[in-house]
Symmetry: C2
Subunit: 285 residues, 2 copies
Amino acid sequence: MTILSQIESTLPNLSKAESKVAAYILEHPKQTMSRHIGELSKEIGVSEPTVIRFCRTLGLDGYKSFKLSLAQSLPQTSEQLLVDITHNDSPLKIGQKIIDSAIASLQETRKNLDSPQLGKAIEALLRAERIEFYGQGGSGIVASDAQQKFFRLGTPVVAYSDPYIHCVSATLLTPGCAVVAVSHSGSSTDLLHSVKLAMENGATTIAITARQSVLAETADIVLPIDVQEDSTHYAPIKSRMSQLALLDTLAIAIAVAREDEQDLTERLSRSNDALAHKHSQNLSQ
Amino acid sequence: MTILSQIESTLPNLSKAESKVAAYILEHPKQTMSRHIGELSKEIGVSEPTVIRFCRTLGLDGYKSFKLSLAQSLPQTSEQLLVDITHNDSPLKIGQKIIDSAIASLQETRKNLDSPQLGKAIEALLRAERIEFYGQGGSGIVASDAQQKFFRLGTPVVAYSDPYIHCVSATLLTPGCAVVAVSHSGSSTDLLHSVKLAMENGATTIAITARQSVLAETADIVLPIDVQEDSTHYAPIKSRMSQLALLDTLAIAIAVAREDEQDLTERLSRSNDALAHKHSQNLSQ
DNA sequence: ACAATAATGTAGTTTAACTACAAATTATAT
DNA sequence: ATATAATTTGTAGTTAAACTACATTATTGT
């Protein structure tokens, strides 16, 4: 857990002044890093000791260690980010650059996670009687991965990466179905066509794709993944990672929700048993 | 580029005392973070201003900004890591936890990247006349992904996720072939069997799997991915991400190497042309 | 409404980061 | 080889930021 999510979780337990501090830091983490306690406290409108007390509440030593923790959970500043791969890079350097870019992409995705769309997507998938994943090329693999993950959750689920096949499948959908279209660019006409077909048949469509894309505009629910096109080398793995992370989130969220449902029915039946038992006791008295 | 790699690259230009500082920090980055300038300079055996000068040489403002940069490039301390997903987690929280765990896993992989095995793997794949990727279940998808990536690099390449198929394929291999076996646990007997068959036929085998596993002990070259079994929820995506990053690294490293070769032959032929031209000029004089 | 407790701020203290300058080392030129 | 210039390193002093003790103000319960 990063320091920022830790702040979020302790927010409700904080006093008025301290939660002002928390709110400011959550909104301006980067600025916080470069300010010293005097500037920061003035900016927020509290006293210096309040800031220190806030740091202590989080379990840290003081403002210094807080700033260090904050720096650790913050992504690298953009200037030192992502130099493209050159011909004199060693394999080690190539690997490091790729992993750095993947991490940056995941952090970006993490930031954009907090949207009502996520909840809507989960709800739609929970309700769906049948789920189909469509994706072409690299995203086809992501679709297959999703299929494997959703497979165990009880709902019938398939993944298609062939344009012709998912087009045909889309025509056979019914209102109880959900379609998840995965695409890096969101501009594949084949995929778009299948999504439109699915919508015509009343299926709920979820797009995991670039925010500014035809696919995103078309689908019912959009989970945006915006990968800056900084490099031909990095782009594929960046979108792949973010897509996988998002689908994993959906799968686990649904698994958790289903388990809760089961628990609930189990608890209900158990409580019914208990009631019945009690009833028979009453009768025998 | 992280601050640590920046230190590495500036190391040759540093004076004696400053390179002592650099060497210490590269070896003990974590300790450095918690020390203040006095402690650090005493520990290294230089004066405080020397440390400050070192920070300035790196282009930073002073020791404070240096510590901040260092913190940013250092992975989170393990204690604040990864609480498992619980039933009362919101979808947002689930997503954040999943992404955090994926990032942690990638950082771990990044650390273990620097090994002669990586170079060996690239060399073997560069030499190979034919490459086969084997992986089962979740790793099967990674194998397919690798197949797509390596596809454009010129070498014939296939991916098999069916145990029976890759077993048959392994019997048909020749010494010029390379096999990349991808497995989270490294304990699949089917996969192990196919790798052994491939080795018997003289193929070079590369394993992307847990360091402590039968598969790792068997294969010619091992690219280890050690995912702590901290959670059933996180484990799959962690290994998936690291596997993808490693295979991407291999693919791009090979692409870069091949381009260099092409450049070289191109440059050679161009220089030959130039020579021929010059020769004819000499003749005509 | 008043007391008690918690929360916040003010003023002072300590500590760590930084600066100016001096000493020592190294390099270079005669 | 030696002297001088330039660079490097360290010492001592200064500044500024982080932290502490205590006073004041809000908040809660009786």
